[in-house]
Each structure stands twice: as C-alpha cells, then as structure tokens.
Symmetry: C2
Subunit: 236 residues, 2 copies
C-alpha cells in the first residue's frame, strides 16, 4: 500500500485486485470454501500471484481481514453511532437505530459482511494454525468488537449511569446477542415462523421487540420507550 504511493505507475495491480476479490469471496463463502484458483480468477490475476504477494492463502486471509476491519470503520460508522449522544433520549434513540440497522445488516446481505465473516471463521476455528488464529482474533477484537462495544457503552451510560463499566459491557452484549441470534439461527427460526425474517414487516417487528425488551431491561418508563421507538423507526 505504501509502495503504491511511492510508485504509482508500475506498482502491483494484482496485489490490490487480489485483496478486493478476497474480501468479497471470503465474506460470501468462507475461508475453506474459496480456493486459490477461484481467488486468482476472480481477481483477474495469475495463480502464482497469491504466493508471490502474500506467501500463502492463509496470510492473504489475515491481510484481508485487517483491511476489512480498518477500511470500513465497520463498527461505529456503519451503524450510525459515530457522534456522542447528548441526552438519555438521544442515547436510547441511537441504540434503537443501531438495532434496526445492525439487524438489517446481518439479515440482508449486500456487499461484503465483515461481521458475518468473522463470527463464522472464529467460531468454526477455520485455521488450526495457532499464530494465525491469534492474529485473527486480535485484529477483530481490537478493530471491531471493542470499538463497537465501547460505542454501545457510551450510549448505555446515559441510560444507566449508576452502573459499573463491567455491567455496561454486559448490557452491550445483551443487545448484540439478541441481534446476532437472528443471524446464527436464522434457518431454524424461519422454519419455525414459516416466514422470511429479512422481509419488511418481519424485520422491523423483530427490531422493535428487541429495542423494547432492552429498554425495559434498563428499567426505563414505558412512555419514554414508546417515544424513543417511534423516533428511531421513522428516522431509519
């Protein structure tokens, strides 16, 4: 990358093309399911380029995850939690908006989905290689999970200011867990409900329920909750 800035004319187009193709393919199909040949073809480069630029498929993968995590500022930016909240009502509205957009992101694939990618690869322990696993976990934790959790906490703090940092962490995870379940268990849930949960009335219903349940878990008054949910859903 820095090489590119130094010499923009004849620098490795294939490295960049590979990273872009890898981002898309790995996120779509998972590490194991993508072969180096497929990767090279999709990038329009030679098979040998993978070894030349990255040394191995695994190292290309680690590099891709790095890029994804840094590149998109995935966590906060994507879910409209960038600026700091000003009031309790503001914080609650932001949290609700987050739930709406996070749920939509998990259930309506459009473009690469870093979150899905990582959950999958880490949970399945895709790479038995210790060193690489460590690299993956730390990248994702530092560049994605931690910032996302911190942003949620910043909003939660205004709604439960007597809580310790540790309790706020728990609360953040309660929200994330409720959303994530619909991604990890989606096929089962859709079979039970006999309904596509990414379609429009269903998705909003799920989001609203999660918001309401969460705000009740924070012991907020019902009128406040109604108000916040109305605000959040109209502005999404």
């Amino acid at each position: 990358m820095n090489d590119k800035e130094l010499d923009p004319t004849k620098k490795s187009h294939s490295r960049e093309a590979l990273l872009e193709a890898a981002e898309r393919l790995f996120a779509e199909k998972g590490y194991e399911a993508v072969s180096t040949r497929e990767l090279a073809e999709a990038a329009g480069v030679n098979l040998g380029a993978i070894q030349y630029h990255f040394g191995s498929k695994a190292k290309l993968f680690v590099e891709t995850v790095h890029r994804m995590m840094r590149g998109s500022g995935c966590a906060r930016a994507q879910f409209a939690l960038t600026t700091t909240p000003t009031s309790a009502e503001d914080a609650a509205t932001r949290l609700c908006k987050f739930v709406y957009s996070f749920l939509g992101y998990m259930l309506r694939p459009q473009g690469p989905q870093p979150c899905r990618l990582m959950i999958r690869e880490i949970f399945t322990e895709t790479t038995r290689d210790e060193e690489m696993y460590e690299a993956l976990v730390s990248t994702v934790a530092d560049e994605y999970s931690k910032p996302l959790e911190d942003t949620l906490i910043a909003n939660l703090r205004l709604l439960a200011d007597n809580k310790s940092q540790r309790e706020l962490q728990h609360l953040a995870r309660c929200i994330l867990g409720q959303c994530t379940l619909y991604a990890t268990h989606r096929p089962f849930i859709e079979r039970i409900m006999n309904e596509d949960i990414s379609k429009s009335p269903a998705l909003e219903e799920l989001a609203e329920h999660i918001c309401r349940f969460t705000l009740r878990g924070l012991r907020l008054p019902e009128t406040f909750i109604d108000n916040v949910i109305a605000n959040a859903s109209e502005k999404v």
Copy 2:
C-alpha cells in the same frame, strides 16, 4: 438400531461404531475438518464401510445429526426444564437455572455438543447440497430449536400472561440470544475482558447478569428477581 435388536449376533457393528465416532468427531471439529479416513479409524472400521452403510460422508453426517437430536432429548432434558412450572416464581427460577446450565454447556465442552455443532454447520452452510441442507435444517428445527423454544415459552407464559404467542417467541429468543453470543463471540470477549469466561466466578456472573436483565425486561419487581436468582444459583 432395530436391526440390532432383531439379530444381535451378526449384525453390523461397524454402522453403530461409525455413528458413535461421527457424533464425537463432527461435534468436535466440524464437518469439513473430519475426513472419512479419520472417521473410519476412530470407529475401528474399514474405510469402505462409510460408503457401504451410508452411501457418502454427507449422508452419514445427516444421520449423525438425526441421532444426536433424537437420542439425547437434547433441548429440554439437558437444561432441567422437563416438567411444567407451577407458579410465576417457579417459572422464573427455572428460566434462571436454564441460563446457568445452557451457558455452562456452551462454554465448558464435555462430550459432544449438539447445539454448537448445528449452529456451526448451519451458519457456515457447510454443505452446498440443497437437499441435505434442507434435511439438516428441518431435523434441527423440529427436534431441537422448536422444543427448546416451546419449553421456554411455557415458562415465560407464567411471567407475562398477557402476551401473544408471537411475543413469547421473541422473548424466548432474547434469552437464547444473550446466552449464544458468549459462545459465538467467545474469543473476542475473552480478549477484551482478559479472562477465561468459562471459569467459575466469571461464568456465574455472566449468567446472573443475563437472568437479571431478562427478568427486568419482563417488568418483574426487583425483590422478586433477587429472590429468584438466589434460589436458582443455590440449587444449580
């Protein structure tokens, strides 16, 4: 199996041995990561036996999942929710106990873990084969997810009897989601907290927090919650 009862002398020992080895290995490492050779060796049978008895590795896998789901009565029995609750307090205590044991089950591997197995395979869409995927999803949904959800709902109904069936489903999933997150995101969470969350004070702290948050989400009074949590944790 019924064959075995009919003719105990010369009936296929290898079929059974394969299913047992498959249950353990697939749950441990995942479908892709287990080779047919490994399977045959672990079962102490010949490689050809897999093709002979099941036709393919994939069909053996489907058979294994069937067996797991039916066999252990996984959902309810495992988490002490078998009998029907008698009172609101009883129901709440059961829910808390469920959270404790479900969390322990997800985070402290001992023996095959059907739940983990399915989440992983379904989420990663391990098999591209349409027919097989359908078989997996329906088995798991019918034999595991649905019964588990129904049992949770039976308890939730006593705590929120003015709710519709659909709302009760949502509530059940709020509980499951909070627990499941700690399994799917475990490496990230442990890195952030710098702590093994399956160890003893940590696990109980997580469980207690989930219980408290959930019961608050149901708008139950704080004294009731304290009482229930005290009951549940001492009896676990």
